[in-house]
């Protein structure tokens, strides 16, 4: 069920990217897609009644959630940070040139 909700979130993001005309809204759609993916990844590593995978002195390791997705999601978040920063700076530059965020008006390229 909860995986299904992640896919719904993913679909919302995809809708945002495909249907919206504002550059900023497209970027938000992109971010939502990435968040949905990361959320799904974390949820896949979850175990029932699991606890955080932190090793502390003198504790027994029992029933921890899968630590690997958490490490990987951190990497994926860094990557999406990079992409988002780049896309936002591109959007600012585009606004600087075209004076609009509307993609229907930004149409120099054809074909």
């Amino acid at each position: 069920m909860i995986y299904f909700l992640c896919m719904v979130l993913f679909a919302i993001g995809l809708y945002g990217v495909l249907r919206k005309r504002n550059l900023v809204k497209i970027i938000l759609g992109l971010v939502i897609i990435e968040y949905a993916t990361h959320l799904l990844f974390i949820l896949i590593g979850y175990r029932m009644n699991g606890r955080a995978p932190i090793l502390a002195e003198g504790e027994v390791i029992a029933n921890i959630v899968d630590p690997l997705p958490q490490a990987l999601v951190l990497t994926a978040i860094v990557i999406s940070l990079g992409v988002t920063a780049l896309v936002v700076s591109l959007a600012i530059r585009i606004y600087d040139r075209y004076r609009t965020f509307d993609i229907t008006k930004i149409r120099r390229l054809r074909g």
Binding site: A52, A56, E57, V78, S89, R93, Y95, D96
Partner: protein, 151 residues
């Protein structure tokens, strides 16, 4: 309230609080970095907090003050330096035969000085992330200011 060009930034309350807290935030970031191999956190989280302390400074006092502490070129240099240190640690692993080999003595678990190269890697990552994030923030802010001037 009229502000002269020298008094850029927010009100007195914000400035006073910032003056008190910025150092603490920076220290907390450093703590997170150095204890990255023992507690949650590490290079990335600590680096973000370090960058936040500088961003905080920018927000409260304006960009001139923050840039005096850490200039734009400085961030760029630190950024590359962090990456190079990380790579150098990885290449030094060749001394033991493998790329990325943990070649330093691992020490006793749960001590500050343990886990071989991992704390060093954390420091390198923190440099990279902190400088990189601050540079991204400043880059976006500068672009916007440049935009306003043109109008």
């Amino acid at each position: 309230m009229s502000k002269g060009p020298k008094e850029a930034g927010m009100t007195l309350i914000v400035k006073t609080i910032t003056r008190l807290t910025v150092g603490l935030i920076l220290l907390y970031g450093i703590y997170i970095v150095t204890h990255g191999h023992l507690t949650p956190g590490g290079g990335f989280a600590g680096g973000v907090i370090i960058a936040l302390s500088f961003i905080h400074l920018t927000l409260a006092f304006g960009k001139e003050v923050a840039l005096k502490k850490l200039s734009k070129e400085g961030t760029s240099i630190l950024d590359s330096l962090g990456a190079l240190i990380f790579l150098a640690i990885a290449i030094l692993g060749f001394t033991g035969g493998y790329f990325f080999l943990n070649f330093i003595n691992k020490g006793v678990p749960f001590r500050l000085l343990s886990a071989g190269i991992i704390p060093l890697c954390n420091i390198a990552i923190a440099l990279k992330v902190g400088a990189g994030l601050f540079a991204i923030f400043m880059g976006l802010v500068f672009l916007k200011i440049l935009d306003k001037d043109k109008k």
